[in-house]
Structures are given as structure tokens and as C-alpha cells.
Symmetry: C2
Subunit: 400 residues, 2 copies
């Protein structure tokens, strides 16, 4: 069994020391920034050498970084990302695999792999990531820390490299609920309200059922006495994770190729083998003429989820279908990473908030075979801050 023995520091691609602009709500807190997000006078390399070579150095900080500096936080570095954000695994062919401190024989998860790693190692208090199809939630779950995907469109992506715009969001990885609560109050102000009804917690039974058996057991042991529903019940028709996964892949890949295809074809970038396959075989070959059917599906799905979360309460399910894959099992072969249906199941779970543009918080509450797994709460769009407060009030507090 391969154990990642690299230093926690290697999760940084570069270290900086940018003092806060002013004092504020984040006084005394340190943070790191995924290398898909601009820091002034540093290249935004997006984890790929051809990208770095073909793009100019950032002249200003991304808007979300300005927000944190304005409120008193100090920036300590930029962190490793999967190439162009295109993976949930957390292994970069060029930058290596950031250490998963709590499970060193397992991958950290991606694409915000370095951001999760430096938080889990205690090198910073929190870190910025981006989450399109799970890129903050999956590494948070794998590394045993708090993770937050924001309501789509709520936090500015100006100065952040686009990938699949209707799914792209800013997210945060944090050491504890108190830190995350403060950071969300800065990045997504005015998202603090859930009425009494909306504070009910509902487990999605059909999502729990697609998780590994040991994750199901751990989940049942921790949720306590809550109400139960299912995606099929909410949608009003039977559904499967394969349907969500198929819809997500076509929607995401069509957007990815519109966003990055011209650069790929023009530059023929040097990619690691997995990323090469993702762009040249998967994104490029999406059946674009099917997009309208899946857009209609997505908006129908979104309306059902919004209807439920606005009237009934928040949805609860494991963040990932299993603990992080072993480093040995994913390797660098494009086919290996889908072994055991890990990838389709993870993407399907992540697509619930993706489709519905809803905020989601992953809490480091479970341990299975000595590795962490997250428990997620998903709420109505625009209730980001209330969601993390709800998690705390329900006693979903992380204890190291």
C-alpha cells in the first residue's frame, strides 16, 4: 500500500505573505488560495504547464480574495489543483498528490486538493477552492475538514478560471464550523435566514443507498432521529444515480468544451494522461445536440429541489459514496479511477446542488476504516450562512 510521504508543505505551489487590507471579521485568520484563482503579480497556473506558459500573470487579486483581505484575513499561499480543475481525485501529473494527513495512503480528493490538504495539516485556518462538480466537497470529505459550496452566482468568479459556468462556484475549506461561519458571512453576505420549517433535516434515502455499506452504517449512526425522503419522492418519478450522472456529464462536458476547447485545439497542451483523456475523449465528444433535453431536465430537477428546500427543509446525505480511494487504486490510468463506480456515484451525489444551484456544507462527522467521510446538508439557494449555523445548532460540530 502506497503511503504519501510528501511534506504537507508540498500542497502549496507557492508561498506568499499578503497582509490584510483592514481589520475586520476575519482578524487573525490565515488562508490559502487554489491556483485557479488570481493573486496579483503571480501566475495563475491552473495546475498545467501549458496553461501557465500561454496566459499572462494576474495583475490584481480575484474579487473573492479582495473580500477576505478587506475583512482582516492574511493570505499565505497558492495551492495545488488538479489540471484545469478537471478531476475529483486530487492527483496532479505535474505537481504531485497533496498529502491527505488523516489517511496518507488515500488520495486527498480534487480538484481543490492542495486547499484541503493545507487546511487539514493545520498550515492555514481556511482555504479558497472552486466547486463545479464536487471539487470542494469531495476533498473536504476525504480529508476530514469542513467544506462549503456556495449558492451558484452568489460569490463573484471574476479572476477565477472558468470551467463549466452554470456549475462553477467558489467554495471554502475550513478547520472548524466557527471559521467557516465567519468566512461565509464575508463572502456571501445576507444569506442568513431559514425559517422554522426550513430547519427540518431530511435524509435522502436513495442517495444513502448508493453509498458503500460501511458509509451507510456510519451515516445511520450519526444522523439521529430525522425525517426521511428520497430524490424519487421529491421528483415525483423514479430516478437512478446513473440518470443524474448521465445528465451531469453531458451538461458539464458541453460547457467545458465551449470554455476550454479552443485553447486545447490551438495549443495542444501537455496534459497528464488522465486529463488528456478527459479533454480529448470525454469533453470533446459530448453529444452537444442533446444539450437542450438535459437543460430542460436540469431546470425541472432544480425546481423540484428548490420547492422542497424552500418549504420542507434541508437535505442530508453522505458527501461521497465511500472513503477516499487508495492511491494505489486510482493511479494515472484513465480507466482506473472509475473502478467500483466511484466516479459516477460521486458525480451523481454532487449533481444535486449543481443542478439546483443550491448551497451545500460538508461536515467531517464520520470515520470509516480509519478514514474520514463527510456528512452534507443542502439548503435553498441563498441560505448559505443559515445552513452552516443550522449545522452547528443541530450539534453537528466537529470534535477532533
Amino acid at each position: 500500500m502506497t503511503k504519501n510521504t510528501s511534506s504537507p508543505e508540498k500542497a502549496f505551489v507557492t508561498k506568499v505573505d499578503i497582509p490584510p487590507h483592514f481589520t475586520g471579521k476575519l482578524d487573525g485568520l490565515t488562508f490559502a488560495v487554489k491556483d485557479l484563482i488570481d493573486i496579483a503579480r503571480h501566475p495563475t497556473e491552473c495546475g498545467n504547464p501549458t496553461w501557465a506558459r500561454t496566459h499572462p500573470t494576474a495583475v490584481v487579486h480575484a474579487v473573492c480574495v479582495e473580500q477576505l483581505l478587506t475583512e482582516g484575513a492574511r493570505c499565505l499561499g497558492k495551492t495545488v489543483t488538479d489540471e484545469l480543475a478537471y478531476s475529483l481525485i486530487g492527483q496532479n501529473h505535474f505537481c504531485g498528490t497533496p498529502l491527505n494527513t488523516k489517511a496518507p495512503d488515500r488520495v486527498p480528493g480534487g480538484s481543490s486538493s492542495g486547499s484541503a490538504s493545507v487546511v487539514a495539516s493545520g498550515l492555514v485556518d481556511f482555504a479558497l477552492g472552486t466547486d463545479t462538480g464536487g471539487s470542494v466537497r469531495v476533498p473536504a470529505s476525504n480529508c476530514g475538514i469542513f467544506g462549503y459550496r456556495s449558492t451558484h452566482g452568489r460569490i463573484s468568479v471574476a479572476g477565477v478560471n472558468p470551467f463549466a459556468p452554470t456549475f462553477d462556484t467558489i467554495g471554502v475549506l475550513a478547520k472548524d464550523a466557527e471559521t467557516l461561519t465567519k468566512v461565509i458571512s464575508v463572502l456571501a453576505p445576507n444569506t442568513g435566514t431559514l425559517n422554522e420549517k426550513q430547519r427540518e433535516v431530511w435524509v435522502l434515502d436513495d442517495i444513502v443507498a448508493i453509498c458503500d455499506e460501511e458509509v451507510q452504517k456510519a451515516f445511520e449512526g450519526i444522523v439521529g432521529s430525522v425525517q426521511h425522503t428520497s430524490l424519487s419522492d421529491i421528483l415525483g418519478v423514479p430516478t437512478t444515480y446513473k440518470e443524474l450522472w448521465e445528465a451531469y456529464v453531458v451538461l458539464q462536458c458541453t460547457e467545458i468544451w465551449s470554455t476550454l476547447g479552443a485553447w486545447v485545439e490551438d495549443q495542444q497542451p501537455e496534459f497528464g494522461p488522465v486529463t488528456h483523456n478527459s479533454f480529448h475523449n470525454i469533453a470533446k465528444n459530448a453529444d452537444r445536440k442533446k444539450i437542450q433535453n438535459w437543460i430542460c431536465y436540469r431546470e425541472w430537477f432544480a425546481e423540484k429541489i428548490r420547492g422542497f428546500t424552500s418549504k420542507q427543509g434541508v437535505l442530508c446525505f453522505p458527501t461521497t459514496p465511500s472513503i477516499a480511494p487508495l492511491i494505489d487504486t486510482v493511479g494515472t490510468s484513465p480507466s482506473a479511477r472509475t473502478s467500483g463506480d466511484y466516479y459516477p456515484r460521486a458525480l451523481a451525489i454532487d449533481a444535486i446542488s449543481g443542478f439546483s444551484r443550491a448551497p451545500q456544507i460538508s461536515l467531517p462527522l464520520m470515520t470509516v476504516s480509519e478514514a474520514p467521510v463527510g456528512l452534507s446538508l443542502l439548503g435553498e439557494p441563498g441560505t448559505d450562512q443559515a445552513l452552516v449555523q443550522l449545522a452547528s445548532s443541530k450539534g453537528y460540530k466537529y470534535k477532533r
Copy 2:
């Protein structure tokens, strides 16, 4: 008085003939695409020669273009845009000024100038534009056609050049309400519901009051018997258009410089004099450290508008504070275009939907001094289709 005698055809930067993928809801309709939006195998020049030279040719259509082709529409060309979408005027230093057919001595409005021009000239049935701070609504108002700004984040911007991401939206210019209704049903499915209460129309008196007197008179003559409110009433504190304008400029400019600043500094592009000033003096010099205050302001404002439109009804006001400026008065000097406070007033009116991420429809209902002016309806986010249907049901139908 300068009269634009250029041919209507010059509003195209290139003509194409792309047949639909399938038959569908848009059978028989033709459209054009602003040259900020990708058409496969054509450069997306964004109205600027340096941009064209430094970016690869698009390899696929933008997602929104695929949606239209899938549903039976035929694409006939790409249209002139203000450079990088950065103006509400509609004069491009390199491509010229697209003809405003109904008022040839006046500017067409921008930045979707060519898209408005080809629709008003009858060369296509509808056209795609983008609207960040008014770039569809202003040319619709100036040219006497229908204009639609979508709910933010609802229509994919994959394959569309970014400008200020929390404000960037896809919009449509159309010859009539029936065409617009069909196009919205394709681009923004599942946005068709307004309850009885939400169908009330409320005039924003303080917005009407900042319009030219002759526009106020025309507006009062056309709205009929509706209810009255004001921005100050909805916000619960007195406000002025200068406050909205200041907030909008800081928010937009901070995002613009994060999005395009690195390219501007790296390439030192050839710009027309107005665009040069906009990038090098306005966007670059925004006080980025103030961004957090204005983000909090924007989200507070958005919540108030959403609260009103979700419970009370749609907001109604003139789309622009005056008829289109005369070509002579705007010229190519950076200072001229703000004469008579036209620009701050127009940006302030446009910022209402910008801040609140709300859909807005501009209807070609007014004529002042023989030039068109639009009347706007603004609704709750996610009610795009219902909004255009409401306009039709209220008798706000355009008659040539």
C-alpha cells in the same frame, strides 16, 4: 445633424448560414449572434482587433447557440458589438456605428448594437446579445424593438466572453412579443410561473422622475391605471440614482479588471479612444478595497427587490432615461458621452435588475420626438417566461 447612412447589412461582422440541427419550437425563425458569443470555426473578435489576434478561433458553438439550433432556428450571422462589450452607446471605433433604422441620426445603443440593428432592420427575426449593465435593454429601447435580460445564471455563458461575471447575462432582441416568448421558452425553460399577486404592475416613481420630461409624459400616457411605489419605499431608506450608479461602477469595474486586466496589461491592445479610457482610467482605477462594502450593499438591495417582486408584483419604468443620444453629441471623446448625465442615469436604471439578478423585458411602446423609447417590466428571478407573457396579457403589445 449627422445621419447614419450606412447599409443595415453593415451591422453584421460576418454573414453565415447555419441550418438548424432539428425541427422544433423555433422552426422558420432566423437569428444573428453578437460577436462576443462563439460560432464554431469563426473567430470571436469582441469588436477589437487585438482581441481577435490574440485568441484562437472557436471550435464549437456557444451553449446558447446550440439551444437555438436544436429547436429549429437558423443562424444568419455575427453582429457588431462595442469593444469587449464595454459601452451602452453603440459606436465601435473599428467596425462603425450600426444603423438605428427608426432614428438614423441617433446611436443604436450598445453594446449589442449590431444585434439590435439587424432585428430592427428586419434582416433577422431575433438576435442574441449579452447584457451586463444594459447592453441588450438599452439598444432595444433605442431601436424600438423587444429586449430581454435573463435571470442571472439561468442561461449558460459557456462560449461567451466574460466581462463582469456577477452581472453578465445572455439577452435577446426580437421583432415581436410572440418571437421573444418562443425564444425565452427555449433558452430559459421552466421560468413560466407568476401567481396572481405577482402579476400586479407597480411603477417606480423615483426612477420615472430621473427620466427626461418628455419620456415621463410618454410613460404616463401609456402605463394606464397601475399602482405606484418607489425604490426608496422598497428599500425603506431614501436613495438616489447617484448611489446606485456609484455602487454599480465600483462593482462592475472591479470585476472587469479581474477578468480582462491581465490581458490589457500584457497586450497593451489597440483600443478606440473611449474604450481606452474605460479600461485604463476607469476599470483599472476602481477602488478595489471598497468592494466589500458595495457587495454588502448589493445583496441588501437585491433582497429588498426580491422580497417585493416575490410578493407584490412586477416593477415598471422606462428602460432608458431619454431617447437615444444624437450621433453628433456622443462622438468619440471619452467625456462627451456623459453629457446631460445620460450615462449615470442609464446605468442606475439598469442596475436594478443587475444587483438583484432579476429578469427584465423592454417593450417598444413609446415614441418621443419621433424616436423610440422602451418600457420595462422587471420580475422575480426565475420568472422570465412569465414576464413576457404578462406583458402580452396586459395589452403591452407592439404595433408597428
